[in-house]
């Protein structure tokens, strides 16, 4: 680990302003991802701005919807009575991630901004365009069983690991932020993360220094909600594939470098397609990276089953 300066933020706007001053600054909240990456020297911040004590941990009514503070922990959100009653997809997604110990520390904003679990990203001895733009991608041609099947590029085939983001996608949530100049904005969840393209080191649409302050969740859509995640181990394991369903909305997890709103499948269903056909429509553009071919069939089956459940 490299030496760094540490400071405790006293306001969200102040934190954003401070972060914008130093290119190599990072916000620290739960620390469940950042600290690991710092120990491995994948993250090498010169300035760590601790936002963890800012008053942003609440889960509150927001009109007919909900506002989840950036610092609300996964455990707290999953246990919230309104979340459990009105947004079961959200609770299920959160509880399918990490371990109880991590969920007690991991925050909502940190969850959305966590970095990929691609093993080649984690092994600093390997080329990775996320870590070092232009270095190449060791996952391509490597042991890439977990790699993306949708939206990958020749520069990066990693996936985004957040379950929360997938659930928020089918809930049409938006991410609230404060910018270094003190202004605020709301970013639709599907616009927060970028696909890799030729610049996989640019992971979100946030501006330098911009701080996530919360997530606005509109009233729940009519109909059933469900979150299904397939993993090698019963708990505390990276997902192979995940599917979120809320009403007539569908999103996929672990298949791309962002939560993947399955708009093609939604359109097919709206046009009267059967679940399997809707899944096929979404996966028409899916591609294997070598060792992850099974993920296409697995996604197809999981989507089909999730949508059939909905009809039953």
């Amino acid at each position: 680990m490299r030496p760094f300066s540490y400071e405790r933020a006293t306001s969200a706007a102040g934190a954003a302003k401070a972060a914008a001053e130093t290119p190599a600054a990072r916000f620290l909240a739960g620390g469940t991802n950042l600290l690991d990456l710092m120990k491995l020297e994948i993250e090498r911040p010169e300035r760590v701005i601790d936002v963890g004590r800012l008053p942003m941990a609440g889960v509150e009514a927001n009109g007919d919807g909900l506002r989840i503070g950036a610092l609300a922990t996964a455990s707290a959100v999953a246990a919230d009575a309104r979340v459990r009653r009105d947004y079961p997809v959200l609770a299920e997604a959160l509880l399918s991630g990490a371990s109880p110990q991590l969920r007690n520390k991991a925050t909502t904003a940190g969850n959305l901004l966590q970095r990929t679990r691609c093993p080649y990203f984690y092994d600093a001895a390997k080329p990775c365009n996320k870590r070092q733009p232009g270095a190449g991608c060791a996952a391509i041609g490597g042991l890439n069983r977990f790699a993306a099947i949708l939206g990958a590029s020749e520069a990066c085939i990693a996936t985004h690991p957040s379950d929360l983001a997938v659930a928020l996608s089918v809930l049409d949530a938006s991410v609230e932020t404060v910018r270094p100049d003190g202004t605020t904005r709301a970013i639709p969840i599907d616009d927060l993360h970028r696909l890799p393209g030729d610049a996989p080191h640019l992971e979100t649409t946030l501006e330098p220094g911009e701080l996530v302050t919360g997530v606005a969740v509109p009233p729940p859509p009519k109909g059933r909600q469900a979150y299904r995640k397939v993993r090698d181990r019963a708990s505390y394991a990276a997902g192979l594939v995940a599917v979120a369903v809320a009403g007539d909305r569908i999103a996929l997890g672990c298949v791309a470098l962002k939560p993947w709103r399955a708009t093609k499948a939604e359109a097919a269903l709206a046009a009267g397609a059967a679940p399997a056909a809707a899944a096929d429509a979404e996966l028409a553009g899916a591609a294997s990276a070598g060792h992850n071919t099974f993920k296409i069939a697995l996604t197809q089956r999981l989507m089909t089953a999730a949508l059939q459940d909905g009809k039953a």
């Binding site: 491995l40 092994d123 600093a124 042991l143 990276a238």
Partner: protein
């Protein structure tokens, strides 16, 4: 005189008489509360006599080549740095490397950074010592190493594996197999596995008057003491090596790593205590692993299920310089009867990290092929898998003809089947379904060799009657402390509370340590012999002491019970005698050694595993629903720690077929999984309902205690029972472990 014959083993003794009932009791582990409350100092946590410096090891970022340049200027100038070593700046006056002193070995001197060669990815190539861990870590990241890569073999290829000694051919396998009316010829593969001990390898070392005190985390005490003596070029008794509390070994700490010699050498160099711990990444990359195997099993049988031809041929790999064979076929020589047999191994030398022992080396991998092959054969024959095994039960050792010391393999299968509810199993695959889940049952046999190695034990009785055992034994979480106390208390006829056990110290009587499930029998027998020696010593002392109520008693009529030395209604306490006759305490050394008569018997621990799994019909996820193991392991010293050893092994067996795997990236020679988030050992949610029990048994051919090892037999065959249950559940025969959803998917019905 120690036990020297089978008659000695079989004669009544304090352990078999068990008058206090301490043997077999579920005594809590002595060090358990210390470990869970953080008050057991692990090697890295031991307090040093003066403030320590901290060492950080830097691993190679290539798989094979040579260090050609090291830029260490920034590291040397970094805050707090006391010392930087690497291949081009190494400690002076080191001895030559011992002939067999490859990574992990402890034979001969192991000078640090003695050569510029990189032999595997992650191999330690530089070392920084600084006043704080943070400074050492920061400085280590400033070292820039230039390598020249050389051609290497990273990918395990069974076709390139070469035969190793020890093939066993009996009868005419090829002909019998060709003639067999029912045949099976299938190949299984098992992946690389990592030990994943909770406590990483770590050492704290300091020097006083030319003697080095080294606290480290190892399974055996003597070999690392010898290694340090050779490497540091000092007499053995100038190396005081301790390993008192250990957070898991599993075979991986049967070797030692650079933390050991670097801590001792750098501490001497800077004249200050030094602490070094390997990182979790280094535990994966720079220690040892269980190698992958590819195993071909051929079975030939009569139509009524009698094996006529049997072959298990296993290919595996090792590091180029460190010959180690995962002998996946050996166990099978002792398991089933068949007149024509062929078993052997081939080995592919690679430029990757060192392959070495992991819990039940050989059996743990090998039983995953044969015990599934038997299941497949039973299926082809239309026989229950238990019945097939019973029909091929071996009355004597199938290859040597040696009689069994005792063998309750069939009893384990039949009794376990009853308890588990095996009769409810539908032999037809994919016939039982609960909602989205296929449900199935599987079973497998368990076998693991039993061993007794020479060991000693120091026994001391103090003036207050306290009985102190001092032994160069280790407790790697198995319960050694506790069973040593139980054996001592029952042998000496004193309450458990009167016994103090001190182990993990090179100054104490030597034992072979923990490994190969020989620890309890070897160290325990020496403790028993020492206790018996102490009884004789104290009895003679009392009989000869006019002040003793036992004065004049016949020595062989003096008994030890209820905390007293007694003879015909007269008695006194141990403390009364010792405080009077030998106020500074009485010391004896007990010694135990294997006897030839015992070796004439085939000795194994046996068991049978029963598993019920669910297989998700949509996703191919396999989840264990329940599991039961029935075991016969001789006399049980401690019902709690023995059961824990077995269930821990079973859980690892579940992991080895469902989740655990590592793989070498053939482009780089590095492991793909380098942390506990990606290397998937089972978590609580994977296990849920798992239990084991023991059949009553005493093995009076094994040792004077009548016990057999329980540390490894639990993993043997456990995974095969799960794999067979997967087949029974959904019809998927996945022979390439682990059975992850991607491999089950092709067998599942369309939605």
């Amino acid at each position: 005189m120690p036990s020297l014959s089978l008659d000695d083993y079989a004669a009544p003794n304090p352990i078999s008489q068990n008058r206090q009932g301490i043997i077999g009791r579920a005594v809590d582990r002595y060090e358990g509360p210390l470990k869970v409350t953080g008050t057991a100092p692990y090697a890295y946590e031991v307090e040093t006599p003066s403030p320590p410096a901290y060492g950080v090891v830097v691993g190679a970022e290539i798989g094979c080549g040579v260090v050609t340049a090291v830029d260490d200027a920034a590291a040397l100038a970094a805050p707090g740095v006391k010392l930087v070593w690497h291949a081009l700046r190494r400690p002076e006056n080191q001895p030559e490397r011992g002939a067999r002193s490859y990574v992990g070995s402890q034979a001969g001197a192991k000078p640090v950074f003695a050569e510029p060669n990189v032999r595997f990815f992650g191999q330690p190539v530089a070392f920084v010592c600084a006043d704080t861990l943070e400074h050492a870590d920061a400085a280590a990241s400033l070292i820039k190493i230039t390598y020249e890569e050389t051609p290497a073999a990273f990918a395990f290829d069974p076709a390139q594996a070469e035969p190793v000694d020890g093939t066993s051919a009996i009868g005419d396998f090829e002909r019998a197999f060709a003639d067999a009316p029912v045949k099976l010829d299938e190949t299984w593969s098992t992946p690389i596995e990592n030990h994943c001990q909770m406590e990483p390898c770590a050492t704290t070392a300091w020097w006083e008057d030319g003697t080095v005190t080294v606290h480290t985390s190892v399974q055996m005490i003597k070999p690392p003491q010898h290694l340090l003596s050779e490497t540091l070029q000092i007499p053995r008794d100038h190396v005081h090596l301790l390993s008192r509390y250990i957070g898991g070994g599993f075979g991986g700490k049967g070797s030692t790593y650079e933390d050991l010699e670097l801590a001792a050498m750098s501490s001497r160099e800077i004249d200050q205590p030094v602490k070094i711990a390997l990182t979790r990444t280094q535990m994966f990359n720079a220690t040892v692993h269980r190698p992958a195997t590819v195993q071909r099993v051929r079975l030939g049988a009569t139509a009524d299920g009698r094996l006529t031809a049997f072959a298990l041929e296993a290919a595996t790999h090792c590091a180029r310089e460190a010959p180690f064979v995962e002998r996946a076929a050996n166990f099978s020589r002792a398991l089933y009867a068949a007149p024509n047999r062929l078993t052997g191994h081939t080995l592919h030398k690679l430029d990757i990290a060192v392959a070495s022992a992991m819990r039940a080396p050989g059996e743990a991998s090998g039983m995953l092929s044969l015990e599934c092959a038997m299941d497949e054969l039973a299926n082809r024959l239309g026989l229950d898998p238990i019945e097939l095994r019973i029909r091929n039960e071996a009355d004597v050792h199938p290859e040597t003809g040696a009689p069994h010391s005792c063998r309750q393999l069939v009893d384990c299968m039949t009794d376990g089947a009853k308890r588990f509810g095996w009769g409810k199993r539908n032999p037809k695959p994919a016939a039982t379904r609960e909602g989205e889940w296929f449900v199935g049952m599987g079973m497998a046999a368990a076998i693991r060799g039993n061993f007794l190695l020479p060991a000693k034990a120091g026994i001391r009785v103090e003036a207050d009657g306290k009985v102190i055992v001092r032994q160069g034994m280790t407790d790697i979480g198995t319960g050694s402390y506790t069973i040593i106390a139980q054996i001592t208390a029952e042998t000496m006829g004193v309450p458990l509370e009167q016994v103090v056990v001190e182990i993990g110290d090179s100054g104490f009587a030597p034992t072979p340590g923990s490994g190969g499930q020989f620890g309890a029998a070897s160290a325990g027998s020496a403790v028993y012999e020492g206790g018996m020696e102490m009884r004789k010593t104290l009895a003679a002392m009392a009989a000869a002491d006019p002040a003793s109520p036992l004065f004049g008693a016949a020595v062989d009529e003096i008994d030890f019970r209820d905390g007293l030395i007694t003879a015909s209604n007269k008695s006194e306490t141990l403390g009364a005698l010792v405080s009077r006759r030998a106020p500074s305490g009485v010391d004896v050394v007990g010694e135990s050694m294997p006897i030839m008569e015992s070796r004439a018997f085939s000795q194994h621990a046996y068991g049978a595993h029963f598993a019920e799994v669910g297989v998700n019909a949509v996703t191919g996820e396999v989840r264990l629903r329940r599991m039961l193991g029935a075991f016969a392991c001789g006399r049980i010293l401690n019902a709690k720690t023995a059961r824990s050893q077995i269930t821990g092994g079973m859980i690892w067996g579940v992991g080895s077929v469902l989740t655990e795997q590592n793989a070498v990236d053939p482009r780089y020679g590095s492991l793909i999984n380098q942390d506990l988030g990606s290397y998937l050992a089972p978590v609580h949610a994977d296990i849920v309902n798992l239990d084991a029990y023991f059949l009553p048994e005493v093995d009076d051919k094994a040792n004077p205690l009548g016990i057999k090892g329980v540390g490894e037999v639990g993993i043997c065959g456990a995974g095969a029972a799960v794999a067979n249950a997967v087949y029974n559940a959904c019809g998927a025969r996945v022979r390439d472990y682990p059975i992850t959803p991607d491999k089950v998917l092709p067998f599942l019905p369309a939605l």
